[in-house]
């Protein structure tokens, strides 16, 4: 019989978490971007940077609000739907969550309040400091939540006592090697998300030859920001994949649709798999490339799904240890493919900037507003790969997802909340996109002194 509480809880977690992560990366990157703009304004006193700060800041704030409120659900749903998980790992997993709230959430929320409402209440320098603290808070928050997530990927610093895990080394938790590939990957993806957001909206206005002073500067900065960020995302992503081969071989085998252990291992260009019968329907592979990607040399063994399944059965007892292969395979390819596309777009934009081309004449402009979708696609597929590829485990090698749900819940209860969250989130997304589009299209406040106080107040 199907366990509907488990199935529905998984759907709810996936929907609420992916949704939450629509807003987080832009917060990570745009907070830093706005902080840079305001710092330039404070240092140079050029009015145009103040208008840039306010324009991008307003979009930042709209996005931030959505990230905050959907984050509340994240803090509570482990207990709500995953009580046995919470009991099993709370000793370890709860600590980074609490530290995240104490070190990061207070910082970002308090100083964002100061930043929004404090334009005429504190000095310019303190005001710029406020947005830096928001940026630092947001990015620290991603560190702690990834410390927590890394424990699920690669448990360290624990011992098992009376059927639950207890912390034995806090620094091992923080020094978990998974953290230090995952954290930079996530943060730089956030920077890239912001860069594409800024490039897209700037392109929209440059095409219409409006507010050139604001959007040429924004475009140039974002092209640089995006290129650096994407370069780092790809470099770190490469070592992250190598780390995955070493620590979660099944995730990599599934992401490569590699049934049999190979040495040297081939890389799949296009595969469609029939998972139920453990065979490929279509498979096109490049020899040696997977070994090269995994070890930076032309040979090296990469374990296949069948061997790993046997190995896990010996180690953990009978069971199915194969994650959904096609989902892993295609999310991995979409993430990587889109990532490279983003790198080339950003680098191309930067090239044009360096060549001092007239930005308003660039052919790429009309595509850039659509390119805003790219980072959202790669961010989401990246997380789907990370979390689905770990299945059937919720804590790798320690606790299966099927053992982690709350046994007291009924399918009706979970269905109620699943429908409720989905509906409310859907409606909020409509409102959020409406406001972002409205303010993005409206552009920055007109240059000062030409307009009445009331008009100025509306824009600010």
């Amino acid at each position: 019989m199907e366990n509907w509480v488990l199935i529905l809880s998984r759907w709810q977690f996936a929907i609420t978490t992916i949704y939450h992560f629509f807003f987080v990366p832009l917060t990570l990157g745009l907070s830093v971007f706005v902080a840079i703009l305001e710092t330039i304004y404070v240092r140079t006193g050029q009015e145009v940077y103040k208008r840039m700060t306010k324009f991008w800041g307003k979009l930042f704030v709209i996005n931030f609000a959505m990230g905050v409120v959907t984050g509340i659900v994240q803090e509570f749903q482990f207990g709500m739907n995953w009580s046995e998980y919470s009991r099993y790992v709370g000793d370890i997993f709860g600590a980074p969550l609490a530290i995240e709230a104490l070190l990061a959430f207070f910082l970002e929320s308090t100083f964002l309040g100061l930043w929004i409402f404090g334009w005429d209440k504190v000095s310019k320098g303190v005001h710029a400091l406020a947005i830096w603290l928001v940026a630092i808070g947001s990015n620290i928050s991603s560190l702690w939540i990834l410390v927590a997530n890394s424990f699920m990927q690669q448990p360290v610093g624990y011992a098992e006592e009376n059927g639950r895990l207890v912390m034995t080394n806090f620094w091992a938790l923080l020094g978990n090697s998974n953290v230090w590939v995952q954290f930079p990957h996530v943060v730089f993806s956030g920077f890239a998300t912001a860069a594409f957001f800024v490039l897209g909206i700037s392109a929209y206005h440059l095409l219409r030859k409006k507010h050139a002073d604001v959007f040429e500067r924004s475009f140039r900065l974002a092209a640089l920001y995006g290129t650096i960020a994407m370069l780092l995302v790809i470099l770190v992503g490469h070592s992250q994949a190598q780390h995955m081969v070493a620590t979660q071989p099944m995730k990599m085998a599934a992401a490569e649709a590699l049934w049999e252990t190979e040495n040297p291992a081939s890389f799949s260009l296009f595969t469609i798999t029939d998972q139920a019968n453990r065979r490929d329907l279509v498979s096109l592979r490049v020899p040696r490339l997977l070994s090269l990607l995994s070890y930076n040399r032309l040979e090296g063994e990469v374990k296949g799904i069948n061997d790993l399944q046997k190995q896990f059965e010996l180690e953990y007892g009978p069971g199915n240890y194969i994650p959904p292969i096609m989902l892993n395979y295609w999310t991995f390819r979409i993430m990587v493919g889109v990532g490279f596309l983003m790198f080339f777009i950003a680098a191309f934009a930067l090239l044009r900037v360096i060549q001092k081309r007239a930005l308003q004449e660039l052919k790429i402009l009309k595509w850039l507003p659509f390119a805003i979708a790219l980072p959202y696609l790669s961010n989401s597929t990246g997380w789907i790969l990370t979390e689905l590829g770990r299945q059937p485990w919720v804590v790798y090698g320690k606790l299966k997802t099927a053992q982690a749900f709350s046994p007291n819940l009924t399918p009706g209860l979970v269905l109620t909340s699943l429908i409720g969250f989905t509906l409310v989130y859907g409606l909020l997304m409509v409102a959020d996109v409406y406001l972002l589009t409205k303010y993005a299209k409206a552009g920055p406040a007109p240059k000062p002194a030409k307009h009445s106080v009331a008009e100025q107040a509306y824009w600010e």
């Binding site: 959907t70 404090g118 207890v166 409310v424």
Partner: protein, 338 residues
């Protein structure tokens, strides 16, 4: 004092911080339709809590995270057991937070009125549910073997817990009305004070009734490790005193008194619970206690160090922002950010 007890106290402190701070911004949200007779006034009301509501809410996130870290069983049983109530609370807090941010960013009156409803309902529901939840902590809920909640949502609704809900709803509304009279001028201030006076009588009656019911209808006092009666009496006295200060137009002192009443009421409940964290109405052997719910010593020690360093820092900078925004809000459109 053991580390477990220290964390029991610290979680009480986090809830107190949450209720004292978010209590008034929930109250302001509850009063929005009653005091906001036109759009400008509604904006002024929302702007009184504008810079603060988000930071206030983080106290709840921290309390939740700290419960997870320090008492995983408490976190797991409570949040899975109170599933539907918590779901409603989350939806309320979500739409409310977004509403603050989105409401004044479009001129359309229907847009604004929609978000005003979200602010109102998003404030009423948590204000009511917190009282219901805390009353149930004291009364006990059906917890069976293996720390599993065995009841339904309806088990959380009973005369005693609903009375608790009325106390928190009226209490936060009063706290919010006094905050508004502290933060506004002219007619809005007069109206806010009038609402504070109006709310004060039923709030006192509700708190007294709830306190008496606790002694009459629950066996918590017999089971409790500490007798909290002096604290509960002082909670009532503080609430009484707030009315006296409202009448004398000493809003600052009135606010201190409602804050004190909240602090003492929450303290009473935690004293009644001690050394338990959740009471089983089925059998005391199923109670969740500090001992059977707490994390290991390393987690508690680490968390203690982090908390002792950072809670004072948070208090300092949050307090500082309250100082920055100490000026009253006036009803002039070009001075309002929300």
């Amino acid at each position: 004092m053991t580390l477990g007890t220290l964390w029991f106290v610290l979680i009480a402190v986090l809830y107190i911080g949450y209720f004292v701070l978010e209590g008034f911004d929930l109250g302001v949200g509850i009063l929005l339709p009653f005091l906001g007779k036109n759009d400008l006034r509604r904006r002024a009301i929302i702007n009184t809590v504008g810079p603060h509501w988000d930071g206030n809410e983080v106290w709840l996130l921290t309390a939740g995270g700290a419960t997870f870290a320090a008492f995983p069983n408490w976190y797991a049983t409570l949040f899975s057991g109170f599933y539907l109530a918590l779901f409603l609370m989350l939806i309320a807090l979500i739409v409310r937070g977004v509403a603050f941010e989105f409401r004044s960013k479009d001129e359309n009156p229907r847009w604004r009125s929609l978000w005003d409803w979200c602010i109102f309902l998003g404030s009423v529901i948590p204000a009511l549910l917190w009282g219901v939840a805390f009353a149930n902590f004291v009364r006990g809920v059906p917890i069976g073997p293996n720390f599993q909640y065995q009841g339904t949502f309806l088990d959380l609704l009973n005369v005693y817990s609903l009375l608790g809900g009325v106390v928190s709803l009226l209490g936060f509304a009063l706290h919010g009305a006094i905050f508004l009279s502290l933060k506004t001028v002219d007619d809005l201030q007069v109206q806010a004070r009038r609402w504070a006076q109006r709310l004060w009588v039923p709030a006192v009656i509700a708190l007294v009734a709830f306190t008496i019911s606790t002694y009459v209808f629950t066996d918590i006092i017999d089971k409790s490790g500490i007798n909290p009666w002096p604290v509960s009496i002082f909670a009532v006295l503080a609430l009484l005193a707030s009315g006296w200060f409202i009448r004398r137009k000493q809003d600052g002192w009135a606010f201190v008194m409602t804050a004190l009443a909240i602090l003492l009421a929450v303290t009473t409940i935690f004293m009644e619970l001690y050394p338990r964290v959740l009471v089983s109405s089925i059998d005391p052997m199923y109670d969740l206690t500090i001992e059977n719910s707490a994390s290991g010593p390393l987690t508690l020690r680490t968390m203690s160090i982090v908390a002792l360093i950072f809670v004072p820092i948070v208090l300092a900078y949050q307090g500082w922002t309250y100082w920055i925004f100490r000026k009253r809000i006036v009803e002039k459109a070009d001075t309002l950010h929300y």
